[in-house]
């Protein structure tokens, strides 16, 4: 992406980003709340029109040929608004047919994905009755259904139980080993540090650090590097002195 920029009224959400993500890379985008991660992912995936800038995915310009670009990508957005009056299986069929996959292929892939993600028993349950973690998993299944070359995941591990998180991690690692690219945003630094080859740190709409994870860490933990780069303030302990005096 080159010179990517977006403002909402007077508030500049993304203030010009230049970034290259190599093929087959596991890329982590981190930053405090309001840093512009979701806006950036929205512009890269064709959901939010940028004010300026260029996005190329696999050689295709997202905003010049959106249909060709969208064929190559899978998306898991942050707020998980789904057609939740469909059952899990119906939602996958719907997504598959929307993407032009033949119905028998959709059926086979959907049942495999439901089984791998532990949703087989809930395939006939309305998505509105799913827990948050289950919604994440069904949205991930929808994003994977057409075997995209690039996967964009906004907070994929939030509210996911440890067993499911391990399943998803394994699935994503196998997926990138096959040459696909995964770009994900997260607040969990340990996870980003463990999974990602490259990492980008966003703050106030700008990319303040980017590169191979070890290089960005520079010998520290990623969390320490992040806090140092973002310049977080320390809560004063003296103001909350009463916390040590028990009420009953």
């Amino acid at each position: 992406m080159r010179g990517l920029r977006k403002a909402f009224g007077a508030k500049v959400a993304v203030a010009g980003i230049d970034l290259d993500i190599p093929h087959g890379c596991f890329f982590g985008l981190v930053g405090p709340n309001g840093a512009g991660k979701t806006t950036t992912l929205g512009m890269v995936t064709g959901l939010l029109r940028p004010d300026a800038g260029l996005v190329l995915i696999d050689g295709v310009q997202v905003w010049r040929d959106p249909v060709a670009a969208k064929r190559r990508i899978g998306v898991l957005p942050e707020d998980l608004r789904l057609f939740d009056r469909l059952t899990g299986a119906e939602l996958l069929t719907y997504n598959g047919l929307l993407r032009g996959i033949p119905a028998p292929v959709v059926e086979t892939r959907a049942s495999e994905l439901l089984a791998v993600l532990g949703l087989a028993d809930a395939a006939g349950t309305l998505v509105v009755d799913y827990s948050h973690g289950m919604r994440k998993k069904i949205a991930l299944a929808s994003a994977l259904l057409h075997a995209p070359r690039v996967l964009f995941l906004d907070e994929p591990f939030e509210a996911i139980d440890p067993v499911s998180a391990r399943t998803i991690r394994g699935l994503l690692e196998r997926y990138t080993a096959g040459g696909a690219t995964v770009v994900f945003s997260s607040h969990v630094m340990e996870l980003v540090e463990r999974l990602c080859d490259r990492v980008g740190i966003m703050h106030l709409g700008r990319l303040i650090a980017e590169g191979p994870t070890d290089q960005v860490r520079a010998g520290r933990s990623l969390e320490d590097a992040f806090v140092e780069l973002v310049g977080a303030s320390h809560a004063g302990a003296e103001e909350l002195g009463w916390l040590g005096t028990w009420s009953a």
Binding site: L47, V75, P77, Y94, R99, G100, A123, L126, S142
Partner: protein
């Protein structure tokens, strides 16, 4: 503690007003204004009728007390999801005993528009029945006991059912029930007013056995205590009042036990009813709908129609309008002409009005379509297909029922062809309007009257009226042909059948083309219009 809970209720009332936008504030004001006539109407009824018609006194008081009691039982159940002060589990983390909560919540429940209106209405009975002397104390006590019955009974029922009321299924059911009850209430008022006009003294006598039976219910006991106290039968009044008070105590005990259970029992995990995985396409339509993205969109729309409470309510209302038309024709002798069957196309016209904001129910979930890169023309076609199917079925059903009433079976094919033409034409207009002037519909199933704070209600209204007028103008050639067929030259009706279908289909294609052409380059803009929350 009680003071704190009363304060909490007052703060919730105040903040509810402060948070809401002006249409909601107008709605609240109108709600309060609607409560005033009910309160003063009840007051006057109870104050004046017993003096004028002493024979009707007991039956009237029993009926009013019972109705008020049932109202207090029912309405909080329907507004449970919208009123934070009604849910006891919100207080579960505070170190409070059930006894403290019962006392505090009872007092808090006495604060608000509904309790005030109830007290004013019941106060009429004091004016209507009280006479100076010891009986007056009993009359006032009976009114207070009836008020306590309402408050304690309502809270006890609500607390006992609070686990169930929080479920998604119950909230869905409530939405449908509220609209059906509102329509039923309106109908009951009309019928009740007609019946009251014809009521004779002898009819009152016929009601007496029923009144005697209802008199043993707690509100009936309070009513009898009030009447007997007013007429000086102090012993009987005291006994009946003791019975009603015992009911308050028993209800209080039930409330206390339910609170204890709600505050100490873990919320049961939501029971997920797994359906048999039947596939996206409804079984009867599997062969009819194309197995591609157009069919998928149509199937999704039909599934939503069957499962989303707001859409269900829309259909219930449409069906009631259709039934209303049939009833009107059936009871009006002058309208029993066979050609009335052609009026079935009003159903087609009304059904198409739901399509003026075809993307509204998608809301922010429309990202699914955008990110899939689905062809906008196919998307619109799928939505139109679903509307066409449901609209045609509804029109055909209405035409058949009207034919059965009037005997105009020959007009049924004409009505069907006209219906298809009207639907197609209206959908053509709707395709343009729904992509250019889309707005999100509230997804909140807990509140039927929830409106999205989009601040464009006025614009939406104007656009819909213009669309409505455009559809009307485009319909004129078809209507003219039908008029010629009915008045001057009957073969014109036969000609109108293919003409309406071809004309409608042509206009639909034009509308679809215009809508799809705009949408092709503007899917992200449509998504922004449908998302109430902006990305950050």
């Amino acid at each position: 503690m009680a003071g704190h809970l009363v304060g909490l209720k007052l703060a919730l009332l105040r903040n509810g007003l402060r948070r809401s936008n002006w249409p909601q504030q107008v709605g609240l004001a109108l709600g309060a204004l609607a409560g005033l006539p009910l309160a003063f109407g009840g007051f006057l009824l109870l104050a004046l009728v017993p003096r004028a018609e002493p024979a009707a006194g007991l039956i009237l008081v029993e009926a009013v007390f019972l109705l008020v009691f049932c109202g207090w039982g029912l309405f909080p159940l329907l507004s449970f999801a919208g009123d934070a002060s009604l849910d006891p589990s919100r207080l579960a983390l505070l170190p409070l005993r059930p006894g403290q909560l019962v006392a505090g919540l009872s007092l808090a429940a006495c604060v608000g528009v509904a309790p005030l209106c109830t007290l004013v209405a019941l106060g009429g009975a004091v004016v209507g029945f009280a006479t100076l002397g010891p009986g007056m104390v009993l009359v006032v006590a009976a009114v207070l006991v009836q008020f306590a019955l309402c408050i304690v009974g309502s809270r006890a029922l609500l607390t006992a059912l609070s686990h169930q009321l929080r479920s998604r299924r119950a909230r869905d059911l409530v939405i449908v029930l509220v609209s059906v009850i509102a329509l039923g209430f309106n109908l009951a008022l009309q019928v009740g007013a007609r019946l009251a006009e014809r009521l004779e003294r002898s009819d009152l006598e016929a009601l007496r056995p029923l009144a005697r039976a209802l008199g043993w219910l707690p509100p009936g006991l309070a009513a009898r205590a009030l009447v007997n106290g007013g007429q000086g039968r102090l012993l009987a009044a005291t006994a009946e009042l003791a019975g009603a008070t015992l009911a308050v105590v028993l209800l209080g005990w039930w409330w206390w036990r339910s609170l204890d259970r709600v505050l100490t029992t873990a919320e049961p995990a939501a029971r997920r009813r797994a359906r048999q995985p039947a596939g996206l396409f409804p079984r009867p339509l599997r062969r009819l709908l194309p197995a591609d993205h157009r069919g998928a969109v149509a199937a999704k729309e039909l599934r939503y129609l069957a499962r989303h409470p707001r859409l269900r309510v829309g259909w219930v209302i449409s069906c009631l309008l259709g039934l209303g038309l049939v009833a009107f024709v059936a009871v009006t002798d002058g309208l029993q002409h066979p050609w009335i069957v052609l009026a079935a196309q009003t159903m087609a016209f009304l059904a198409a009005q739901n399509s003026l904001n075809q993307f509204g129910f998608d809301g922010p979930a429309y990202w699914t379509q955008v990110v899939a890169g689905a062809d906008p023309r196919g998307d619109l076609t799928g939505r139109n297909l679903a509307s066409m199917l449901t609209g045609t079925v509804a029109t055909a059903a209405l035409a058949l029922v009207l034919a059965a009433v009037t005997g105009g079976w020959l007009y049924v094919p004409v009505a069907l062809c006209l219906g298809v033409g009207v639907l197609a034409l209206s959908l053509g207009v709707a395709d343009v309007v729904s992509v250019r002037f889309a707005y999100p519909l509230p997804d909140d199933a807990s509140n039927l009257w929830a409106v999205q704070g989009t601040g464009q209600g006025c614009l939406v209204g104007v656009v819909q009226m213009v669309a409505f007028a455009a559809q009307g103008v485009l319909l004129l050639p078809v209507l003219a042909l039908v008029a010629v067929g009915l008045v001057l030259w009957p073969p014109a009706l036969v000609l109108a059948c293919p003409a309406a279908v071809v004309y409608g289909a042509w206009l639909w294609r034009v509308g679809l083309g215009l809508g799809a052409a705009w949408l092709t380059g503007h899917q992200p803009e449509l998504l922004t219009a449908l998302s109430s929350r902006r990305a950050a």
